[in-house]
Symmetry: C2
Subunit: 370 residues, 2 copies
């Protein structure tokens, strides 16, 4: 069960993992669903991303998020006609409410995913694993990204470099070199859908730009474009990771103000941010990856044709392929990855890649109940 | 590793558990230590018990509490000359920052113990278990007390009813009837050392009343005594549990004000609160237990002769016995209990007693890494 920073809902996939005779890991998705939070649920969760709260609220949220997961899981099992007794393990990401990685090797980094693992196990009667990020951070790592171990196992090609991009609230990529001696790199490139979603909410009262139609009707505003492209994080050298503590409504507000575009048509704002988001991902590939690669795009952003058109235009020599060719829907990739991480941990396999997160060593991630 | 709500430090005991031929559980304490937090550490932790905080602070505290535990564990292992590789499991309570049980079967209850279990496991290289309370609360229980399963296994007598009292920040007791068909009861009786400690800090700038000497020098203030005894929680029917959200400096301030004793000698205030604390425990035994019982007192309060003298006076027909007769020091009981809970969970045994916590069913508690 995956619930991202964008707070749009919970993705669930029921997956069977196995190992073939050569030791290669295999997966087979049995059932999947992408559930959107109701407005009420989303509002409730958004409260906990505000500046100040009470410790009671945090404790309450920890419970409510647990209960919400139990409810959506029950709905999933019922809708798909799955008997929970057929499930060996419930692997759950938890709701990230804070994530600040260590910077320049000085500060400590910390992260907080709310959800009670023993609580969810008790509510669902399933062996449950979660809290995947804190072990890596306890070893000095960024706690993210954790998807690369999945990419490395399942997306690798011996013919060409491969890049897996995920456009969720934030955007991140994994660079999987053809040459197995070269290190796997993975990092956040900057915002994914977050700035688009915030602009949609502000100008149109909508949660997101469905099919990129609002962006499609706008034009690019040069001053806004320039200010967005100058955001330092985009061209900062990896390893790097980010979140809502950097890309949020305060940042959007600041940039709109210094760009003098507050009164411009919302479509133009959304178009500019959409194209900037695509550009920022491509710029990271040009600077730190290889623009002549096999490229897979997943996450909500993959469903935004305006964003994808710009990404294709920015990377004319890349070969784009789809997750369907590998046996899964783009929408479900993160849930699938965290199911894989849970399966690895239960088998005693590490889940972080130190060259990616910066942790001192590889470690078995997460925490299991009961 | 046990860190109580009183924020006085971390208790650690290294214990070997086994099962005899008749299936009875046995324990043997190998090493133990009671560490006090430094003032700096205590101040840091106290910050998180304030009214409003940022989610960043909570995430940061979660990390710092984890790091603090890793440090004290390392100190313990070094001082005792123990090789961590000899340890099978690190069982850790975590720092409670909120605990509100369900009330009257209506509201949901929730609790929050800060500490990253995967983080501590990564820092210590030990299999680690913690987060013992949330599973019980997910099943509608009070999440406390959890010590009764230890009491039931190790303190039972077939000759007489037994009562185990623990006086930590809060005070709680377990009533273990001689008749095994009678249900075990356990509940918080009210404040333990918390109000005494708060008064000591306020009037003398001290952390606690060492050996009860300040109380010994004071006299009982009638108006304050009466107002304390009228606190509803004390005579409320079990099951009941409480914490700093009820017994805190705001409550003390209110009671001192309505009793018009703000300018009275601090010794008198401390004496009155000390005797009240003993009375409140005894009153619970008279109302809901059996004053003619075998009684064991543990926790910091057991080291306060003024408090203990009043408790003996309140219960003249009880037979007080010591934990030393059972093979452990009173100070270390809670740490020992949570070691036992961790051992039970690893063996697939439930840790809560539904008649005590009110949970729908018994459940294997906690969460294990890796």
């Amino acid at each position: 069960m995956m619930s991202g920073t964008s707070l749009d809902g919970i993705d669930i996939c029921l997956t069977e993992f196995s190992i073939d005779e050569e030791g290669k890991h295999l997966f087979s998705i049995k059932e999947q669903a992408v559930y959107s939070y109701t407005l009420e649920e989303k509002d409730f969760l958004t409260r906990f991303l505000q500046d100040t709260i009470s410790i009671e609220d945090v404790s309450h949220a920890n419970y409510e998020i647990t209960r919400l997961h139990a409810e959506y899981l029950q709905r999933f099992l019922t809708e798909k006609g799955v008997d929970s007794q057929e499930c060996d393990l419930l692997s759950v990401h938890g709701q990230t409410v804070w994530h600040s990685p260590p910077r320049d090797g000085h500060d400590i980094g910390h992260t907080l995913q709310l959800l009670s693992i023993p609580g969810l196990a008790a509510m669902t009667n399933l062996k449950t694993i979660g809290d995947f990020r804190t072990a890596d951070m306890a070893l000095g790592g960024q706690g993210a990204p954790l998807v690369p171990i999945f990419d490395s196992e399942f997306l690798y090609s011996q013919d060409q470099d491969t890049i897996a991009i995920n456009i969720g609230g934030m955007a991140n990529l994994t660079f999987i070199p053809r040459d197995r001696n070269q290190q796997i790199m993975a990092f956040d490139t900057g915002p994914g859908n977050i700035l688009i979603d915030l602009a949609m909410k502000r100008f149109f009262g909508k949660q997101f730009d469905e099919n990129g139609v609002f962006a499609q009707e706008g034009i690019i505003l040069e001053r806004l474009w320039k200010n967005l492209c100058e955001l330092e994080f985009i061209t900062q050298k990896p390893p790097k990771s980010t979140g809502r503590e950097m890309f949020n409504s305060a940042l959007l507000q600041d940039i709109l103000e210094v760009s003098f575009v507050n009164t411009f048509p919302g479509e133009d704002i959304v178009r500019t941010i959409t194209d900037f988001t695509a550009w920022s991902i491509a710029e990271n590939i040009r600077l730190f990856g290889n623009p002549i690669s096999r490229i897979l795009v997943t996450g909500g952003g993959a469903n935004n044709p305006t964003l994808m058109a710009r990404l294709h235009k920015e990377l004319p020599k890349a070969v784009f392929f789809t997750s369907q060719e590998l046996g899964f829907d783009a929408d479900i990739k993160e849930a699938l990855c965290f199911a894989y991480l849970g399966w690895r941990s239960l088998g005693g396999l590490s889940g972080n890649i130190p060259s990616v997160t910066g942790a001192k060593r590889a470690v078995v991630l997460g925490c299991v109940s009961p």
